[in-house]
């Protein structure tokens, strides 16, 4: 479980990214550089193109134009852990097997201990043998989080990973994520400004038709920030203003 050294976690460079579905342009000419080892939160109104952007970065769909590459010049593929907006659990696998899916798919030896440790941290140790259909919505989401963290990859992409969790569970799992993803390059989509400010080194907003990326907002201090961190509250206020401006433009 030792994370790769900060130096080994590549940054992500997004250049001129454009996405169109037929006539509709979702976003156009997006540029963004995420420094290796940084945690970036991506915000934006519903339907603006956040998930689409994340999928392109993950290599799961092709942009209409533009490129995404790693800062170290090596291919991104194979170094990304991706968590989609829906849980995407395999219904025929137990919770534990779902968590260890990566090793299973790569034909590696599954690390049961690590999986059980993660399940414990997300509060599902007792349900390790349950099937997804026996879980509540939030439990499914936590399983998916555990699966993503189990992957132990230098780059982590997460699409609204905590949306189905209550305040307390959410806070706990945010801390877990921050702990395990320290020095990883992470891009996280969230609708919760508080969450964004708590976890991110930088915040980026996607807005408009076609959508463009706002200038990254720096959050001072190191994540995860305590809920009452003054930086946090300050940045949250700033963020809300920025978002409100974008919204009313």
């Amino acid at each position: 479980m030792t994370p790769p050294a900060a130096a080994t976690c590549p940054g992500i460079i997004i250049e001129g990214l454009t996405l169109r579905f037929g006539e509709r342009t979702i976003f156009e000419g997006l540029n963004l550089e995420i420094t290796g080892g940084q945690f970036v939160a991506l915000l934006g109104t519903s339907g603006v193109g956040k998930s689409s952007l994340l999928k392109i970065v993950a290599g799961l769909s092709k942009p209409s134009a533009g490129t995404v590459r790693a800062s170290d010049g090596r291919p991104l593929q194979g170094r990304i852990a991706y968590m989609g907006q829906t849980d995407l659990l395999y219904p025929w696998l137990t919770v534990q097997q779902n968590v260890m899916l990566g090793t299973r798919l790569r034909g590696e030896k599954p690390d049961v201990e690590r999986a059980m440790h993660l399940l414990k941290r997300v509060g599902l140790a007792e349900r390790a043998k349950a099937l997804p259909m026996e879980l509540s919505g939030g439990m499914k989401q936590r399983t998916a989080i555990a699966r993503t963290l189990y992957e132990n990859r230098p780059i982590v992409l997460m699409d609204e990973p905590f949306s189905a969790l209550d305040t307390f569970t959410r806070a706990r799992i945010q801390e877990l994520a921050a702990e395990l993803l320290v020095d990883r390059t992470a891009l996280l989509i969230t609708h919760d400004p508080f969450e964004a400010c708590r976890l991110g080194h930088h915040l980026v907003a996607l807005a408009g038709h076609p959508a463009v990326l706002g200038a990254p907002i720096l959050v001072p201090g190191q994540p995860p920030r305590a809920p009452d961190d003054p930086h946090l509250l300050e940045t949250q206020g700033h963020l809300m203003r920025v978002l409100t401006e974008l919204e009313t433009e």
């Binding site: 999928k55 993950a58 290599g59 799961l60 593929q77 194979g78 990304i80 852990a81 991706y82 989609g84 829906t86 995407l88 395999y90 219904p91 025929w92 899916l101 990566g102 299973r104 798919l105 790569r106 034909g107 099937l131 259909m133 992957e151």
Partner: protein, 256 residues
């Protein structure tokens, strides 16, 4: 043994008994001549009288069914997998598979006998030809209609095409495969019978064709009864096994 398991065992038996009663009623109360549809009593007598022949024929046909079903399922799966792996292969294979379904036995028989001789092999090959297609078609359909998210996720996890197939597509296609296998199981007995058309000298199909040619309708129906029971029992077994394998794909029939 719980009441439920008892019910599960008794239900098919009750079904059979009722079917036989209906059959008996048809022969008793309609003017259908016995050489068209003999009464169950006559058939039971033939069953006893021809015991020896029938036991042997049943054993032969049963092994053909099992072999045919096993080989047909394996071939069916292999073909479906091959087509999933290569769209080019699919384009060339599909017409061939369709051909294999459109060619009648009598056209194929000479070639089959030429290649496989008069023994068991040519019969099993014929049975396989009948059985494999529903498996191929359904499995292939299941394999290609997989939740895209599952595939995407596996892709980010560096799954090889093989792992993707083995751990994702295969499971996702199981319900569809089950449908195909159910159809294959239902037609497996007729597959074996058609196989016996090809240079046969044994088996229930042979007994039946023989009896049919000789208008020994009672013997024919005796063989037919055995074949039917075999077909139903086989289907029930496959159905139960499939339901067990598909524990994660719930059946919603109880609440229509």
């Amino acid at each position: 043994m719980t009441r439920q398991t008892l019910g599960k065992i008794f239900r098919p038996i009750v079904t059979l008994v009722v079917l036989i009663l209906v059959w008996w009623a048809i022969t008793a109360f309609t003017s259908l001549p016995p050489y068209m549809l003999p009464s169950p009593v006559t058939v039971a007598q033939a069953l006893v009288a021809q015991q020896q022949t029938l036991v042997w024929a049943t054993a032969t046909t049963f092994s053909e069914i099992i072999l045919g079903l096993a080989a047909g399922t394996i071939l069916g799966m292999a073909l479906a997998l091959a087509m999933v792996f290569s769209p080019i292969l699919q384009r060339w294979l599909m017409p061939l598979l369709l051909l294999s379904q459109a060619i009648p036995v009598f056209a194929l028989a000479p070639l089959l006998v030429l290649w496989f001789g008069f023994g068991m092999a040519s019969k099993v090959v014929m049975a396989v030809l009948v059985i494999f297609f529903p498996v191929t078609a359904s499995f292939f359909d299941g394999l290609r209609r997989v939740e895209i998210g599952w595939l995407d996720l596996a892709r980010t996890m560096n799954a090889s095409p093989w792992a993707m197939l083995r751990h994702v597509r295969l499971f996702a296609a199981l319900p569809a495969f089950g449908s195909g296998l159910r159809v294959a199981t239902a037609i497996a007995p007729i597959g074996a019978i058609i196989g016996e058309w090809v240079g046969s000298s044994a088996g229930l199909g042979y007994v039946m064709m023989n009896a049919n040619a000789r208008i020994q309708t009672d013997v024919m129906f005796a063989a037919l009864t055995i074949l039917s029971v075999m077909a139903i029992v086989l289907w029930v077994i496959v159905d139960r096994v499939l339901k067990r394998i598909l524990y994660w794909a719930p059946d919603t029939i109880a609440a229509p």
